[in-house]
């Protein structure tokens, strides 16, 4: 799978937020988006997934050369895209397992084998060092910030996407948890050959991963694209140096 964001403009309530964003990546690759607060990273992810509140005004999002802008969110997911949320939504009364099953069945277009699903949930939640009790709970309800982030990764591995966009999978995680999450992302990517697009503010998670491309975003567009060296530059000089470019 190839995902391309082409000269994309998008607005929220008539306010322009994304101003000509560009990005292209393939299955199997690891990309990183970094950028200051409010630069539009989350909005870009939402635009790719067709969030109703984000209106695309120009440009295109392509999967394998075909525009996906006409597709509803669920159809985009069915193509093999996954979005890990910066702020996972808590949903009253929707059981975590019931939801995992619904999503698995929707994406695979077949009835889920519950025994196998439960086994997968068990083994991956062990890997992620998650408390098993979350399985019996309502979706994200009452989970701590870190638990929610782990639950997003659990959903990702069960869904086996082709390209996963992970919006700050490391925020709110303790040092050990960051490592666990990064390792599990790597493991899932190795097993399935999926591509990963990580949105983050921090070096730490990246030190456990091997990104090929780094994109720096400011004011709704990419202001720099390059290799890992951009991360070091950012660390030394901050976002100022990119803005001035």
């Amino acid at each position: 799978m190839r995902l391309e964001i082409k000269d994309l403009y998008a607005s929220i309530d008539g306010k322009a937020i994304i101003n000509g964003a560009n990005l292209a990546m393939n299955e199997g690759e690891v990309h990183v988006i970094m950028g200051p607060n409010g630069s539009g990273k989350t909005t870009l992810a939402k635009a790719v997934f067709g969030y109703p509140g984000v209106k695309v005004t120009r440009g295109d999002v392509l999967v394998d050369g075909k525009s996906i802008l006409g597709l509803t969110t669920d159809k985009r997911a069915a193509l093999g895209l996954f979005l890990g949320f910066q702020h996972p939504v808590e949903i009253e009364g929707v059981g975590f397992v019931n939801f995992l099953r619904a999503s698995k069945e929707a994406v695979s277009q077949s009835q889920a084998n519950m025994k196998e699903l439960m086994k997968d949930i068990k083994s991956w939640s062990d890997e992620l060092k998650m408390d098993e009790s979350i399985i019996g709970r309502a979706l994200n309800k009452g989970l701590s910030g870190g638990e929610k982030k782990k639950a997003e990764i659990l959903q990702m591995v069960l869904q086996r996407p082709k390209i996963a966009m992970l919006d700050e999978p490391d925020s709110g995680l303790d040092i050990d948890a960051v490592k666990v999450v990064a390792e599990n992302i790597n493991k899932a990517a190795e097993q399935t050959g999926m591509g990963v697009l990580v949105i983050t503010h921090y070096n730490r998670i990246l030190s456990h991963m091997h990104p090929q491309r780094v994109h720096i975003m400011a004011d709704g567009r990419m202001v720099a694209d390059g290799g890992k060296e951009l991360i070091d530059k950012l660390e030394k000089e901050g976002y100022e140096s990119f803005n001035r470019r």
Binding site: D74, R76, A77, I91, V94, N98, S103, A106, M114
Partner: protein, 433 residues
């Protein structure tokens, strides 16, 4: 020989089943346009051959759900197992009801209750003797014409009753499915009664329950409204004895221009009594749902506790849910809360579910079932839990169709009661199959 003196019964009813007090107040009148049900055209006698129709209806329901009922009641007959707690009284005079109804409609009292009393030709009696425990499932099948029925439930001292009533209709002409139910719990008695209305669109549902609970008694009544072109419910339940507890759950799903007018009156009439009314409604497709919970604590009911909760979820912009919180407290040393929350389906939740590939329809279904998870978890009988969640999810799945006999398929979920597992909203999976 009729077992009940119907003349006396109807006269008593005139005194007892008067309009609920709040129906007269101006706020109510302004907000709740009454659902006026034309009584013309609701003849009670249907065509012949009903016995055969009922049998086919029962067989189909059994084939789809595997459920076995202890009794089936239809317009002019019933079949039942030989449970000593269960009996049916028939009223002899066929013309009696009609003659009487003319008189009743002029009385200014609740004409729908009068209609039911005036036209009912049979009464189901459930009598649980002191210390006995009875578990019953009853099917009310409307197959040819209107089915007005009186149900008397009487629990002796420390008696226990677990009752499930399924009210269904496949009637092909305009009719009503009407129940006047009286529930009396003796001292220390316990019951869980669940009433499911799943009638088709030719049917108007009339539901009238009056209940009292004696000292230390504990009564749980769940009403589930999914069927009928219109539903008019007037229920009045009282925690009458010291330390008695009354819980009323109302679950409603309205679609396709259905009109639900649900009015429940709960009363604390004794010291240390507890009343809990929780109503949850989901509305879509130009349907209207009025949720009216009215709580009263009588003077002298010290340390009474009264909780009323009304919640509404609008699945689309065309439906309406109306609720007004009301409470009348005639005693100081009490604890009372009343809450009401209505809102549309949350767009972010919808996006979250859909981003995982879940279709908009399935996402709505998940959220509707999620919305009902609290009230469904509160139902103790796991069979009723399964039936109720199947009927609700079936209604959402079929895009608002109602009245069809559902297949029991609670999406493989078995709801566990919060009390049993110590965990709210916890459900367990059946992995076999």
């Amino acid at each position: 020989m009729p077992l009940i003196d119907q003349t006396k019964f109807v006269e008593d009813a005139l005194n007892d089943y008067h309009r609920l007090p709040e129906e007269g107040d101006s706020l109510y009148v302004r907000r709740f346009a009454p659902i006026d049900i034309s009584i013309e055209g609701y003849g009670s006698a249907g065509p012949d051959g009903k016995d055969e129709k009922v049998r086919r209806f029962y067989d189909e329901l059994h084939a789809r759900t595997g459920l076995k009922f202890d009794a089936t009641v239809w317009e002019d007959g019933w079949t039942a197992c030989h449970n000593p707690a269960l009996s049916l009284a028939k009223f002899g005079d066929e013309g009696y009801g009609r003659a009487l109804s003319g008189k009743l409609f002029r009385s200014g009292e609740d004409k729908y209750v009068a209609l039911l009393h005036g036209t009912a030709r049979q009464a189901l009696m459930i009598d649980v003797k002191d210390g006995m425990a009875v578990d019953l499932k009853v099917l009310f099948a409307v197959v040819g014409g209107s089915l007005p029925v009186q149900v008397f439930i009487n629990l002796g001292k420390d008696a226990k009753l677990n009752l499930f009533e399924w009210h269904a209709s496949n009637c092909t002409r305009p009719c009503f499915s009407g129940t006047v139910r009286e529930v009396k719990l003796g001292e220390g008695a316990t019951c869980e009664i669940s009433v499911l209305h799943n009638e088709n669109s030719n049917t108007t549902v009339l539901e009238h329950t009056k209940g009292t609970a004696g000292e230390g008694a504990s009564s749980t009544i769940n009403f589930v409204y999914t069927g009928g072109s219109a539903v008019r419910a007037r229920n009045s339940l009282e925690a009458s004895g010291r330390g008695s507890r009354v819980r009323v759950g109302e679950l409603a799903v309205s679609s396709k221009r259905q009109k639900f007018d649900l009015n429940t009156y709960v009363v604390n009439a004794a010291g240390g009594s507890e009343v809990r009314l929780s109503s949850a409604a989901v509305a879509m497709q130009e349907s209207v749902c009025y949720l009216k919970g009215f709580a009263r604590i009588t003077n002298g009911s010290r340390d009474a506790r009264s909780f009323v909760e009304e919640r509404g979820l609008l699945v689309d912009g065309t439906a309406k849910i109306n609720s007004i919180p009301s409470m009348a407290i005639g005693e100081n040393a009490v604890k009372a809360t009343h809450s009401s929350a209505m809102g549309p389906i949350d767009q972010d939740s919808m996006f979250y579910l859909m981003s995982r590939g879940v279709s908009p329809e399935a996402a709505k279904r998940l959220m509707v079932l999620g919305f009902f998870s609290g009230p469904i978890s509160g139902i103790r009988s796991s069979l009723v839990k399964e039936v109720v969640s199947s009927v609700i999810s079936g209604k959402i799945r079929s895009n608002g169709e109602f009245g069809e006999l559902p297949v029991l398929n609670a999406e493989n979920v078995i709801w566990e009661s919060g009390r049993e597992t110590g965990m709210e909203h916890h459900y367990k999976y059946r992995t076999e199959k």
